[in-house]
Structure formats: C-alpha cells, structure tokens
Subunit: 110 residues, 2 copies
C-alpha cells in the first residue's frame, strides 16, 4: 500500500494485541489451536489428516501461529510436534482481558 503518511509508532501492547488478534482471525487457525488444546500437542500429520487443506497450506498457517508465538514446534524425528506456547498464550489472554476491561481506557496505544 502507499505509505505517504508518517509512520505511526504504536505501543508494544497495541502491536502485540493486533498481532495475536491477527493470528486468531482465521477459522482454520482457531481449529488448529483447538486441536492442540484438546490433545495438548500434535503432529502436523494429524492436522493434515483432519483438515481438508493441502499440506503446504497447513504448514503456512502453522508458520503464522508460530510467528505470533502462540504455538511452538518441537522436533521429534521424523515428525514435528506442535504445542501451544503456554507463556505466550497466557500473555495473549492477559492482553485481551485488559482490552475488554475498563483498564483498556488507560493502556497506551500510540
């Protein structure tokens, strides 16, 4: 997109909420997160079996979730076991709690 206006510096909180929200903004990724929650962890193979999407597509969604921090992959040759990253998950939970609380009026956004 055109970026003719000055860059806006948002607060860390705003950037983090936005990033987590984006990770959560696709039903497939919610499905993956639910599967990981259900089984505590799971292999990509299992996801590919369950979801009606190409392996490459699922891999892309996993990458996005990984980039957001919400999940982590553990190498378990020859497979990779994905789990929810509890620390980040709790952070996201806390951030959304603030967002939906009265304290939202106080948090720094820009």
């Amino acid at each position: 997109m055109k970026r003719t206006t000055q860059h806006i510096d948002y607060s860390d909180d705003a950037v983090r909420i936005a990033r987590y929200a984006k990770a959560l903004s696709h039903p497939v990724r919610l499905t993956i997160l639910k599967l990981l929650s259900n089984q505590s962890c799971c292999f990509t193979t299992d996801l590919v079996d369950v979801l009606p999407l190409a392996q490459s597509t699922i891999s892309q969604h996993l990458k996005e979730l990984k980039d957001s921090g919400l999940i982590q992959g553990e190498i378990n040759p020859p497979k990779i076991k994905y789990c929810i990253n509890q620390e980040k998950w709790e952070e996201a939970k806390a951030l959304f709690e603030v967002l939906f609380s009265k304290d939202f009026t106080k948090i720094k956004i820009t």
Copy 2:
C-alpha cells in the same frame, strides 16, 4: 484465492471469534476503540483530527468496525457519533474468554 477444496463449514462461534479477531487485528482500529472507550462516544471529525490518516482511510476502518458489530454510528446531524456497541462488545469479550479458558477444548469449531 484458488478454492479447489471443498468449503469448510465452521461453527458460528468460530466464525464470530475470527471476525472479531480480524476487527481487532489492526493498531489503528484498536486506537479508535480506545478513543471511543475513553470518551464513551466520539465524532469522526475528532478521529480525523487525532489520527495521522486520511479521512477516507479512517472511514474505511470505521466501516470495518461497524461491520464486525463492535461499534455503531448514531446520526447526529451534521455529524455521526460513533459508540462502542456494548452488546456486541460483551459478546466478543465472552467469546475470547471461552477461547482462553479450558472450555475452549469443548467449543465446536467445525
């Protein structure tokens, strides 16, 4: 995008969480929501004054927030007063609470 695979029917909850998350996935929209929270309501003019973005761009973000249901506009000639839609806001809050709770393993996604 190519849609060669079958359409996936996600649950209402999944679709709603994803939609709310998408609305929250941009720092500008978080900023707008914070401003509305702070002042309970506010006119577009005020937003245009505060944010370093073109009026048309802000209007677009307002439209997205409106479409998500999180805000509503009240005509107040010649201006439009935007407010947070408390009902939908509470719904979003509840959905994210479930998402981050143990009950997430139980909610229907697909």
